[in-house]
């Protein structure tokens, strides 16, 4: 052991769960939360700490998973949990991991692996907190995972559009009106690829969807055990903001992957790989479903015309047919030639 290993905080050993029957029964996130029926993000919380195990602390930035999820006296958390501010998921992770590291090095607390997970919604991770997350991914001496649960709007405050809201979606900041059918004209940020591309020392960046629960948990375990700062982007159907029957949360997660809208990939020690159904799509073994099948199951797209749907489809087609790395990296000189319908 060299001196840097002596001073580094120890890492846990978290082997992947080999199949759904090997998933442990213990829950470290249980009932008590006041989330919506069919809240996929609540499921994300449950699977996240189930994967991480009992020697874990969770930091939660402001958003649904704070306000709805963790209200006074009705906490669902078995493991320790602490609120952090909306833009602070990155800073909370760094401060917590740094505190443990210092205390362990100085012998003030027992030296042991402690999983530090800091989560944020898309408001906290894609908009306000992006800068702090970027900084956190540079501090390679601290072990932690930042998990972005992306329900594609500021769902807690009653569904306002964010940098992660898909093009054209109806939100309370982008209603379909008499004069303007579509107010939200921004294309969703490609945040995981952006962070992977921009932080070459970060050893793990991945995208997940809780509809694929075992894949989801094993990526959490990989991120926590690899060392240094890591980032996972989770795609979370939101019955409230997407205006859909809560029982469709699982199905919409699958459809987002199967239509190619949300590619599943990971960048592990600089090696990029699509996985699961997204890998099959890239290899031509899984037919990419039309986005219509996904869009028209959600009230937030009910105002779409056929032209809007065609535009959406064309943009997703581009991801898979014209991007430098399909589904991941959008470098392609002629993309700007496409314009949204008036």
């Amino acid at each position: 052991m060299d001196s840097s290993e002596m001073t580094a905080a120890p890492l846990p050993v978290l082997e992947p769960f080999k199949g759904v029957k090997r998933v442990p029964l213990e829950e470290y996130y249980t009932s008590g939360h006041r989330t919506c029926q069919g809240c996929e993000s609540a499921l994300v919380m449950k699977l996240m700490v189930k994967a991480a195990g009992p020697r874990t602390v969770v930091l939660g930035s402001t958003g649904c998973m704070y306000v709805a999820n963790t209200t006074y006296y009705s906490t669902p958390w078995v493991v320790p949990w602490m609120h952090t501010q909306l833009g602070s998921a990155g800073s909370a992770a760094v401060g917590t991991a740094a505190g443990y590291k210092a205390l362990m090095r100085k012998g003030k607390i027992k030296r042991e692996p402690i999983n530090v997970i800091s989560f944020c919604g898309d408001g906290g991770g894609v908009d306000m907190g992006l800068s702090a997350i970027s900084a956190a991914l540079q501090h390679t001496e601290y072990n932690h995972l930042i998990l972005l649960y992306d329900n594609e709007s500021y769902a807690n405050t009653d569904i306002q559009s964010s940098g992660s809201t898909p093009y054209g979606a109806y939100t309370s900041f982008s209603p379909a009106g008499k004069a303007k059918r579509i107010l939200h004209r921004r294309w969703k940020k490609n945040v995981a690829a952006m962070l992977a591309a921009g932080h070459s020392e970060c050893r793990y960046v991945g995208t997940v969807c809780a509809s694929y629960a075992v894949d989801f948990m094993n990526r959490i375990r990989r991120a926590l055990s690899i060392g240094g700062p890591t980032f996972i982007h989770s795609f979370d159907p939101c019955p409230k903001g997407w205006d859909c029957d809560p029982m469709m949360s699982h199905e919409l997660g699958e459809l987002a992957v199967l239509t190619g809208i949300f590619p599943l990939f990971e960048v592990l020690d600089h090696r990029l790989a699509l996985y699961g159904k997204s890998k099959q799509i890239a290899e031509g073994r899984q037919k990419r479903l039309p986005v219509r099948d996904y869009l028209l199951k959600q009230g937030r797209f009910a105002h779409f015309t056929d032209d809007d749907i065609d535009y959406f489809q064309a943009k997703v087609d581009q991801m898979w047919t014209r991007w430098l790395v399909p589904g991941v990296l959008p470098f392609q000189a002629d993309i700007l030639g496409d314009k949204p319908p008036a």
Binding site: E26, T30, G32, A42, Y73, P239, D243, D245, M247, H250
Partner: protein, 392 residues
């Protein structure tokens, strides 16, 4: 000159947000036509709302501004002349964002006040759900499938105006039928909606509920501690770990600890019924449940905890076996007994119970599944009810 009249609308968060707002606005606009003033507002603590979690809207009408101010800058009135439950399962009691513990649906109804419920059930069945009150009050049931939609697409099945028409009947001092119909006409500019309101006025029946009728249970409450008793640093104890289940002599599986301060079942409008004979132990219902409401039995099957389940239906959606998990209208249940324990006690009787539950259950839905769905549902309603309902 009249007096202040308070109307409470208890509804399912998000699913009935627009409906509740339409009703509370309709009350104030109609009362205005009768020369009165009023305010319409939501229970602030319910906001931001969550799908299915009970929430409240209010309309308060007063003879003049001075009287009205007595009811302003408050979250809710102390008592109501009319409480409206736009979903009959709310009558089992509501646990919301805004308070701790279970509130009876009729908690705020004053003596001789009225509870208005939209339901396909008979009034006697609704009475059985409602907690007892020490004095008589009235109950009006508007025959309707509870109207559910989502945040962006409204299901215009005329429930809003049917409730408003009913209000003119059960609380004439609030507003006359003529003023109500005129307000509806002006707000919606739709003669069909005026007709629906008038029909509701004519057809809705009212019955008295006596103190010896209803659910005798005392709902669980929560006492707010003082500042010296509260932990410092805005901290609360975390939840304990769960433990293996102990049922009779059997020990095994896993039962998570569950928070006693928020149970969530009053969010539920449909309950999963598990046919244990069909279960292939695939784990998906348990693994995919956002609320961790399945106990793992010593046999590695999955038993619903009816206190924790909010009825989202994800378990039924992910279950790979036909009719193994089926969502059944919550109104069909009278208790929270363990389905697995029932099954273990008498498999044959349980099988019969499951068959009964699956047969003849009334329709419920949870909002938007595909574009065009509401139009289809409304057309079906119209065909079935001789023009009842309307819209879109």
């Amino acid at each position: 000159m009249g007096r202040t009249v308070s109307v409470e609308i208890v509804y399912r968060g998000i699913f009935q947000k627009t409906l509740a707002k339409n009703i509370s606005r309709g009350v104030v606009l109609a009362a205005r036509r009768g020369g009165k003033v009023g305010i319409a507002f939501g229970r602030y603590g319910d906001s931001p709302e969550r799908n299915g979690v009970p929430a409240k809207n209010f309309a308060i009408v007063a003879p003049d501004q001075d009287e009205l101010e007595l009811s302003m800058a408050q979250y809710e009135p102390a008592e109501t002349d009319v409480t409206i439950a736009v979903d009959d399962t709310l009558c089992k009691g509501v646990e919301s964002w805004a308070w701790y513990g279970l509130q009876p649906i009729n908690q705020k109804v004053r003596p001789d006040g009225v509870l208005v419920v939209t339901s396909t059930l008979p009034a006697d069945a609704i009475v059985e759900f409602c907690h007892r009150k020490p004095f008589p009050y009235r109950l009006a049931v508007i025959p309707a499938i509870p109207s559910f939609s989502g945040l962006w697409v409204y299901k215009n099945d005329h429930t809003d105006v049917r409730v408003l028409g009913t209000l003119a009947k059960v609380c004439p001092e609030l507003v006359s039928l003529e003023a109500m119909l005129a307000a509806i006409k002006e707000e919606w500019k739709d003669d069909l909606k005026v007709t629906s309101a008038r029909r509701a006025y004519e057809q809705t029946e009212v019955r008295v509920v006596r103190p010896d009728e209803g659910n005798p249970e005392v709902p669980y409450t929560f006492t707010l501690p003082g500042w010296t008793a509260m932990r410092e640093g805005v901290t609360v104890e975390g939840m304990p770990l769960g433990a293996p289940m102990r049922v009779g002599g059997e020990v095994g599986g896993y039962r998570p600890a569950r928070n006693p301060y928020f149970k969530k079942f009053s969010t539920r409008t449909m309950r999963p019924v598990v046919d244990f004979e069909k279960c292939v132990k695939c784990t998906l219902c348990w693994l995919q449940c956002p609320d961790g409401c399945f106990d793992v039995t010593p046999e590695q099957t999955y038993d619903l905890n009816a206190d924790a389940c909010c009825g989202c239906g994800v378990c039924a959606a992910v279950c790979p076996v036909d009719d193994c998990i089926t969502m059944v209208n919550e109104a069909a249940f009278t208790d929270h007994r363990s389905q697995w324990e029932r099954y273990k006690a008498d498999p044959a009787a349980y099988a019969a119970w499951v068959r009964g539950m699956l047969a003849g259950q009334s329709e419920r839905s949870h909002g938007f599944r595909y574009r065009g769905q509401y139009q289809e549902q409304i057309a079906k309603l119209r065909a079935g009810a001789g023009g009842e309902g309307g819209g879109e």
